[in-house]
């Protein structure tokens, strides 16, 4: 339980003159749900993009299971076992619900261009395995009845679930959820929260960015607070709730 799945050491990210992340250090222990919160523009999504390899950090190291990964491209990091969702839903809208999840299996089971062109029996068996595993995931996230629908046609709540399902299909060890509850109504938020718990119960470590404090306080084991790219607090929910620095960052310094 004490093992760190993810370790960030001295991570700096600058865009031109703007320092989006400055000297960030933190760890994520295996099996926990860790939330990252902070006001808009605090660098939360940038942090996700650095961890998942959208761009390399300007400085510092990101270690996954003890191995540095900050120099790897996004698809390589996915292969290592980190999966993610996006703040604004990035589904494959031109594909069906099932196909979206099937693509999620890509890190585990893939066929080469030639093998798929000649339909070797091996590639046919692989395709069958992908489909079975995708259907299992659709059952788990509760979208099995919509497997034939195009991903575009789902309401936002289900699109968010589907994105999580697609990320799960890669059987990650760490899943990074970027605002899983954003734009959802209360029922949908509830569904999403219980899904995140269920994912965590499977032994998958969860790192999430979220604005909905109720969700964050409810489900996370630990919270990291960012402001202007810096860590201003870290700890279990009850400590964060009462931290004066956090309150100041969110509400502004009380001058009146």
């Amino acid at each position: 339980m004490e093992e760190n799945v993810l370790e960030l050491q001295g991570v700096v990210m600058t865009f031109g003159g703007l320092m989006a992340l400055s000297n960030l250090n933190f760890n994520v222990r295996r099996g926990m749900i860790k939330a990252i919160i902070g006001p808009n523009g605090a660098g939360k999504t940038t942090l996700f993009n650095v961890i998942t390899g959208s761009f390399p950090p300007t400085k510092g190291t990101v270690k996954f299971k003890g191995q540095p990964i900050q120099h790897l491209k996004a698809h390589k990091i996915a292969d290592r076992g980190i999966s993610r969702t996006f703040q604004t839903v990035e589904l494959f809208g031109n594909m069906t619900v099932l196909e979206n999840v099937m693509l999620g299996c890509y890190t585990r089971i893939r066929t080469s261009f030639m093998a798929s062109g000649f339909v070797l029996p091996r590639s046919r068996r692989k395709e069958k395995r992908i489909k079975e595993s995708a259907l299992k995931i659709l059952k788990f996230i509760g979208l099995i009845h919509k497997f034939k629908d195009s991903a575009d046609s789902l309401p936002l709540g289900e699109q968010k679930l589907l994105e999580i399902g697609r990320a799960l299909a890669s059987e990650p060890e760490l899943i990074c959820l970027d605002e899983p509850a954003a734009g959802l109504n209360e029922t949908e938020t509830h569904v999403a929260s219980s899904l995140i718990r269920a994912i965590n119960a499977k032994g998958i470590t969860v790192l999430l960015v979220e604005h909905d404090m109720k969700v964050v306080m409810n489900i996370s084991d630990e919270i990291l607070v960012l402001n202007y790219g810096q860590k201003i607090a870290e700890g279990p929910p009850q400590n964060i709730r009462n931290s004066p620095r956090v309150i100041e960052a969110y509400l502004g310094a009380g001058e009146v």
Binding site: L91, F92, T107, S116, F118, R166
Partner: protein, 317 residues
């Protein structure tokens, strides 16, 4: 699930097989098998383009160049060096693959208009080379005396024989392409089309796949070029100009880019239009192409392949 039905493919293959046999008996369309040879050659190119553009979402306005490279390599190696045409065909495809990697690796990092411009420039450069390297290519006059094809003593020396050869290649390439589309590879390509960041986050090596499809489409174009050279026994640069690249785009736009059948239908129609039905228009032919492109993009964004869906929509209402 993206499933491409097998029955239409079988019906199509059968129709292709009996076509010359029927066409021969009807005087007005006696010469249609000849046009169909060209249609088949162009189909090889547009199928690859359909995979590249319709499925993977990348544009190329330079495929005439790959077509030309195949044709000229076959022409030069067979006439000047007396090499075996089949070997030249394979060499042409290999050289084209290398060129496609060299061109594709940097330019496929670009998107949209920029990628269009890069491939356009490549097409123009190759066109200039065909015109200017007179020692090799014969310049604007082209090259003649390219031998026909023979296989184990069997000569493909009549329109019918060549027809079956070309369409054999087309059907093989069609089945291969359909298999790719229906596999995990095809899914990865469509994923790239929809969202590159998401595809990457799911472990898809986006740049590798883009280059791979680009190379595949270029190699098919090169094969088409070799077949073209050995059929006409003559090549000249005008065949491989910018307008031909655009014509290829009109073919897949008319048929429908998001459907592999679209490539076949669009190519067939445009080939018959340009080789036969539009002769009255003479140089105003180009205006007709413009009108077709305009009509399709405004009224039929999914091309002719989208028509069954539209008709179904009417009945549902």
């Amino acid at each position: 699930m993206l499933r491409i039905a097998k029955l239409p493919i079988a019906v199509f293959a059968l129709a292709i097989m009996v076509f010359p046999w029927t066409a021969h008996r009807i005087p007005a369309i006696e010469h249609y098998p000849d046009i169909m040879v060209f249609a088949g050659i162009y189909c090889l190119i547009t199928m690859g383009l359909s995979l590249l553009m319709g499925y993977a979402g990348q544009i190329s306005i330079g495929h005439a160049a790959f077509f030309g490279i195949g044709a000229y390599i076959s022409a030069i190696l067979t006439t000047n060096y007396g090499m075996n045409p089949w070997a030249c065909m394979v060499i042409g495809m290999a050289v084209t693959a290398v060129v496609a990697v060299l061109v594709g690796a940097p330019s496929l990092k670009l998107r949209g208009h920029y990628l269009a411009m890069a491939t356009l420039a490549f097409g123009i450069i190759i066109f200039i080379i065909f015109n200017e390297e007179i020692e090799w290519t014969g310049g604007p006059d082209g090259m003649s005396g390219i031998p026909g094809l023979t296989l184990f003593g069997f000569e493909f020396n009549s329109v019918e024989r060549y027809y079956y050869l070309v369409w054999g290649f087309v059907i093989a390439a069609f089945i291969f392409t359909v298999n790719v589309i229906q596999s995990g590879t095809g899914r990865a390509l469509r994923a790239i089309h929809a969202s590159e960041p998401a595809a990457r986050a799911m472990g898809v090596d986006v740049s590798r796949f883009k280059i791979l499809v680009f190379v595949y489409s270029a190699v098919l174009a090169s094969l088409a070029g070799s077949l073209y050279a050995h059929y006409l026994n003559f090549v000249n640069p005008a065949t491989f100009d910018l307008f031909f690249s655009i014509k290829l785009l009109i073919m897949i736009a008319l048929g429908g880019m998001h459907n592999i059948w679209g490539a076949i239908v669009g190519t067939g129609l445009i080939t018959f239009l340009s080789n036969e039905w539009l002769h009255y228009f003479e140089e105003f032919e180009v205006i007709v192409y413009g009108a077709i492109l305009l009509f399709v993009t405004v009224l039929l964004p999914e091309g002719l392949a989208g028509v069954p869906g539209i008709v179904k929509g009417w009945f549902r209402r």
